[in-house]
Subunit: 185 residues, 2 copies
Amino acid sequence: MLGLLARHSLSGYDLTRRMREQVGFFWEARHSQIYPELARLEGRGLVAHELVEQRERPDKKVYSILPAGEDALREWVCGPLRERPVRDELVLKAYSLWTVDPAAAAGLFREQERRHAEQLREYREIEEWMKQTAGEELANVNSRWFASYATLRRGIGYEIELVEWCRWLAGELEGSPAGGAPVDE
Amino acid sequence: MLGLLARHSLSGYDLTRRMREQVGFFWEARHSQIYPELARLEGRGLVAHELVEQRERPDKKVYSILPAGEDALREWVCGPLRERPVRDELVLKAYSLWTVDPAAAAGLFREQERRHAEQLREYREIEEWMKQTAGEELANVNSRWFASYATLRRGIGYEIELVEWCRWLAGELEGSPAGGAPVDE
DNA sequence: TAAGTCATGTAAAAAGTTACATGATTCT
DNA sequence: AGAATCATGTAACTTTTTACATGACTTA
């Protein structure tokens, strides 16, 4: 949230939307988490809000980052990673593939292949748009453009790898006669 | 847990250890989650335990999967993926790179590069061991070996991509021309 | 003798999700 | 007329983490 507010002042509603649309591929949160957290950040003096009255829309609270918030953000960026537990349901399913009919399981991985190929296509479009919009700035490591581009590159790499894995796995599952008895270890 | 118990009967302690060592790279859980969950699975008739008395070690409860548990596992494997929110702190940090000194941030990504290059090396060792140990079975999609191998391939692909991204990003931040040698394969 | 492994649990707290709640405006 | 968007919150619930609790045996 500080990372988003450091770029633009935003309402809780806009923060929620950006989490879905802009940074959603590496960090997600619901509005029910965001509103209380904004209040907490404000309590710690990291952000402040001003009420913006609107005529044709409900009024909103626009939050801005404060200098203390910028300090906290910078410290967090350079600080150590907090390792969080990995939980990848697709790979977990793959671990138990031997219990089911390969042909039936292939569908799951074909579906994921499609889904992630589509995601990859979208990222490529954003990449094109970024290159045309940001120009030289994309290579400037001190710019927001570069930071956004770096995350996008990670997204693209991740999706390429995932699509390839799904394709390989689905191919293996489809390319074998179904119903062979599992062999004991 | 059903996926592990479908392969071997295990105590809560052994389940915990396997979650750390065998499947830890795509699914983790602590013992404080595992023990109550085993009791719940037993309550639903999916697993059962027998008490194994030991002389030089504390007694243990060895859990085995029941036919109903195998059915539940198979249904889950072929069933739809439950999308969980993505949360990748490293990429989130990258998004705010523009707020900090590039040289300082480079250290973080060099460290991650090292860590994941090491992880990759370990996976490659396991891969070699699997190929020598399982032989033909590795290609049999109905075998446990193939299922394990499929997850390992995903781990290897994931780490390759991550190492390359960290290397590229650290290189950019350090101001050097594009990164070192590509990760092989 | 200190640390580590084996072994099983519970309790408190934190984090996160889903559902509840409202209401005007705009688009189809 | 119905659905979607804008806008902000709370409450109940589930999930997960961290810490508490114990104790014998083994290895350095």
